[in-house]
């Protein structure tokens, strides 16, 4: 790809892993599957200063659309149904948002005002999304450059679309109201697509350091703005994973350059990201946000909250890395592996809870799990811990860890014990190992290394290498090397 001076901007949304929703006491877990009931609504044209034509156009658009909202037990109440005014802002979520603002060196206004952002696609039962700015004009250090973080905001997630047919759009309301933190960068210039992807990654790392970010698919959603000289600002919505950002930017730059080469105009527009990095036209770039104050919620004074937020502010990533190097003697390779994994923050929890070598834990988290992911296998964090716990208690061997993790990824309902049984990985009794060693020796050699190798390949993860070596030493008299 030819070198161009590319301008980009990132908007990244993070679902918060807090107990309750942003404006009510519903659970934010989103675990219910079967709707209790469905409520049918229409949306009205929203009055605006733009006059008749605009209202008429909205009316025509909305006239044939009916929205069906699914209601779930414990996860939807009158607030999501727009049948009850919002409750005060969830303080747990607000604290996380303030911490994110502080971590990006933002200034935090003394008074936060909740706003209503007009949305008429039905994804908000009210016809607007509630949102508030909690920080502005911050930055992120990347390769010695201050990347501007223009805004950090806290908002309610929209309802998730289930399906759309014949003018009926079905939404699930359990996602509506789940707290989201949005981080917006200013214009990023002078960096390659790959570097912009790294910036997005670093932003994610900083936000995740609060340890209050959901991990499920779709919990982190990123939009990218791209323009090339002579082109136009194009907003790409919903890039599905971080690893797709550079590819998506490259392809958009290429698309804009091709249009320019053919002397065609690049239209400022919103495009939708596809899983292969390409994009498709969604709609023209929307005008300015239509916002007005959420008068049901009084402004929030931040002074006291900020004190609590700063007191519990997580350690910076740089400090953490420094400590990992010193305290756990991790190699740069392992550290970079951990950083790229989902387990950077879990690593230390595990090390503190387990009497295992930090390097071993890091290796499992950074490398074994990465290999599994490449094969499309994901293991949940709690299960990984159980496997490591079994290793600590010498119920399994180091050699069988990968196999057990893969099994648990494929069979998430099974326990570590089930895996050991089903994979036939029960540890062999000493007599059995001894019998195998003797068998190997009888087959003709007493070379220590050879015997170890041959025995290990026959016990296949059912004995610890240390235990095997001890027996061999006893039988043939030590390491001959």
């Amino acid at each position: 790809m030819e070198k161009v001076s590319l301008k980009a901007g990132l908007e990244i949304h993070f679902q918060l892993d807090v107990k309750k929703k942003l404006f009510c006491n519903c659970s934010a877990a989103m675990t219910q599957k079967n709707p209790l009931l469905v409520v049918e609504r229409k949306l009205r044209p929203v009055p605006s200063e733009l006059g008749e034509v605009d209202v008429a156009a909205q009316f025509e658009f909305l006239r044939d659309r009916t929205f069906l909202y699914q209601v779930f037990k414990d996860e939807v109440c009158g607030v999501e149904l727009d049948e009850e005014p919002p409750h005060p802002v969830n303080q747990e979520a607000l604290l996380v948002a303030l911490q994110v603002a502080l971590l990006f060196n933002c200034s935090v206004p003394e008074e936060i005002h909740v706003m209503r952002k007009t949305v008429i696609d039905g994804s908000n039962t009210t016809g607007f999304q509630r949102t508030m700015i909690v920080g502005k004009d911050g930055y992120l250090n990347y390769k010695g450059v201050k990347i501007p973080i223009t805004y950090v905001s806290l908002e309610e997630d929209a309802a998730a679309k289930v399906e759309e047919k014949e003018g009926k759009v079905v939404y699930r309301l359990n996602r509506l109201g789940v707290p989201l933190v949005e981080v917006d960068t200013g214009i990023i210039e002078g960096f390659s697509p790959k570097e912009i992807e790294e910036i997005a990654y670093t932003i994610g790392l900083v936000v995740r350091s609060t340890r209050k970010i959901k991990r499920a698919i779709g919990a982190i959603r990123q939009d990218v703005n791209v323009s090339v000289p002579g082109g136009a600002r194009v907003e790409i919505k919903g890039v599905q994973s971080l690893g797709l950002i550079s590819r998506t930017i490259e392809l958009e730059v290429e698309r804009q350059l091709n249009l320019l080469k053919r002397k065609e105009k690049v239209e400022p527009e919103t495009r939708c990201a596809k899983p292969d990095g390409t994009t498709e036209f969604m709609r023209p770039l929307p005008g300015e946000n239509r916002m007005y104050p959420e008068t049901d919620i009084p402004p929030i004074l931040t002074k006291e909250l900020l004190k609590i937020a700063s007191k519990t502010l997580p350690e910076s990533i740089d400090k953490k890395l420094e400590r990992f190097r010193k305290a756990y003697k991790l190699s740069e390779e392992l550290i970079s592996g951990l950083l790229k994994s989902d387990f950077f923050f879990t690593f230390e929890d595990f090390v503190k809870k387990l009497k295992l070598e930090p390097k071993l834990v890091a290796n499992v988290l950074a490398n074994l799990l990465k290999d599994l992911r490449r094969r499309g296998l994901e293991v949940e964090e709690g299960k990984v811990f159980e496997v490591l716990k079994a290793l600590e208690e010498k119920r399994i061997t180091k050699e069988s860890v990968a196999e057990i993790l893969a099994y648990l990824a494929k069979n998430p309902e099974k326990s570590v014990e089930d895996a050991v049984k089903d994979l036939n990985l029960q540890l062999l009794p000493e007599e059995e190992i001894e019998r195998i060693v003797k068998d190997v020796i009888e087959s003709g050699t007493k070379n220590f290394d050879f015997v170890v190798k041959a025995t290990m390949s026959r016990v296949r993860g059912k004995a610890d290498v240390q235990a095997v070596m001890k027996i061999i030493k006893r039988l043939i008299g030590g390491n001959e090397n």
Binding site: R41, R44, V46, M115, T126, M291
Partner: protein, 438 residues
């Protein structure tokens, strides 16, 4: 309003709300439009609308500098409130919409964040485009009060305006009204509009009309359908029938009650079936045939009310002296919102019997209704009730407490004779008493 200190500085710098300003606070810069200060929060915080539309509050302290960097925005003005007509189609009937407060149409100025109420028929027609397929409209704002500030005097004014338009030949009348006391107004109009010959619908909204999800437009569209196309010559409340935007219900004005603080379908018929199910198009489904039909009669306003009537809720521990207060103040009638079938305490110092006796002896009627709302009072099932009956109280059948309260005002406007009062209170005048209940 901002704090005095801020107001003083703004005045000195000739900065007005709506101007573009820059606020400098150490290294922090806030640039945007100065917004009006809402009453909640810290009045020493300047509210600035940033370029992305968000508002933030910046505390005004010694180190803060404000400068004006742009001129103010033009602010919308509310339109004059006068009766005006919009004719869509000569072949459609024309209905009258009377406003008593609250908004059924509004505009938002996204630059300043202000919401501007409007009652011009043009704005109503613009925001409820369905209307042009239902009826031509005349709209007039006759007062602007919140529903909790409604008074008997205001009911009278509404009744006179409704009667005027009904007699002027409008096909039906819509009265827009705040929801909290809408059922009181509905009951009052029911009694006061004698020989009503066309439908009258009271309509409100539980979600304000500045949001896309407002129920105002559908309620008004259904009410327009109801008053233009039905032959129900009664005062009804027309509001959402469920949480969905599927249909509205027309509920008899003397049998309706607000039963939820915030839901769209807050109004329920009590001891009655809804009269009709109404859809946004021209469909109307009659559910209850028991109603007065349209006629060619002229409506007369019978609006003499005795307002010195009180509604007293009975509860354990109620101090009987409350009766002394009302009697001492010259009250002419009392309605008890009693417990169960119509009970009130009869034991020891909490007994209401002596006070009730005293009231009746003084010629003050006491009407008993039930706080259960659903069901009918009954004077002879229990001993205590018989005691009340003996002392001359009037058991109000299945009348809602609020309706009995209004009816007693109306009846006392006609007579002070206790026997006559009893007879009128127990005569069904406009659907407030049903013969059968389940």
């Amino acid at each position: 309003m901002y704090s005095k200190e801020i107001e003083r500085i703004l005045e000195k710098k000739k900065i007005r709300v709506g101007d573009k300003i820059r606020v400098l606070k150490g290294k922090e810069v806030y640039e945007g439009i100065l917004m009006p200060r809402i009453e909640m929060g810290d009045t020493s915080c300047l509210v600035v609308k940033l370029s992305n539309g968000y508002n933030v509050g910046v505390k005004f302290e010694k180190n803060v500098k404000i400068e004006k960097i742009g001129r103010g925005l033009k602010v919308f003005k509310e339109k004059k409130k006068e009766a005006k007509k919009v004719i869509f189609d000569k072949n459609l009937p024309t209905i009258s919409i009377l406003g008593t407060g609250g908004t059924i149409a509004s505009r938002i100025d996204y630059r300043t964040g202000g919401v501007y109420a409007s009652f011009s028929p043009e704005d109503i027609a613009l925001q409820i485009p369905e209307l042009k397929e239902i009826a031509n409209i005349k709209a007039e704002e006759i007062m602007s009060v919140m529903s909790e500030d409604m008074t008997p005097e205001r009911w009278r004014l509404i009744a006179r305006k409704v009667a005027k338009d009904a007699n002027a030949g409008y096909r039906g009348i819509i009265v827009t009204h705040g929801t909290d006391t809408m059922h009181y107004t509905a009951a009052a109009l029911s009694f006061m509009l004698k020989d009503l010959a066309c439908p009258v619908a009271l309509v409100g909204s539980q979600r304000s009309s500045d949001r896309g999800s407002s129920d105002a437009a559908m309620n008004v569209a259904c009410a327009a359908n109801f008053v233009a196309n039905s032959d129900v010559a009664e005062v009804c409340i027309v509001m959402h029938g469920s949480m969905s935007d599927d249909y509205c219900l027309a509920i008899r004005g003397t049998k309706a009650r607000k039963m939820h603080t915030s839901r769209r379908d807050a109004f329920k018929p009590i001891n009655d079936e809804p009269i009709a199910k109404i859809y946004r198009d021209r469909k109307i489904e009659i559910l209850n045939e028991n109603y007065r039909k349209r006629s060619g009669k002229k409506v007369k306003v019978d609006d003499k009310l005795e307002t010195k009537v009180a509604l007293i809720k009975v509860y354990p521990g109620l101090d009987p002296e409350i009766f002394d207060f009302y009697l001492g103040k010259g009250y002419k009638g009392l309605v008890l919102e009693a417990t169960g079938l119509g009970h009130a305490p009869t034991l020891g110092r909490f007994s209401l019997l002596p006070k009730i006796e005293k009231a009746v002896e003084a010629g003050v009627p006491v009407v008993v209704t039930s706080q259960c709302l659903y069901g009918r009072t009954h004077p002879t099932v229990y001993h205590n009730l018989r005691e009340l009956l003996k002392r001359g109280v009037i058991f109000g059948e299945d009348m809602l407490p609020e309706v009995a309260y209004i009816k007693l005002m109306y009846v006392l406007g006609k007579t002070r004779n206790l026997e006559k009062i009893r007879e009128l209170m127990l005569t069904n005048m406009c659907g407030e008493i049903s013969e059968r209940t389940i």
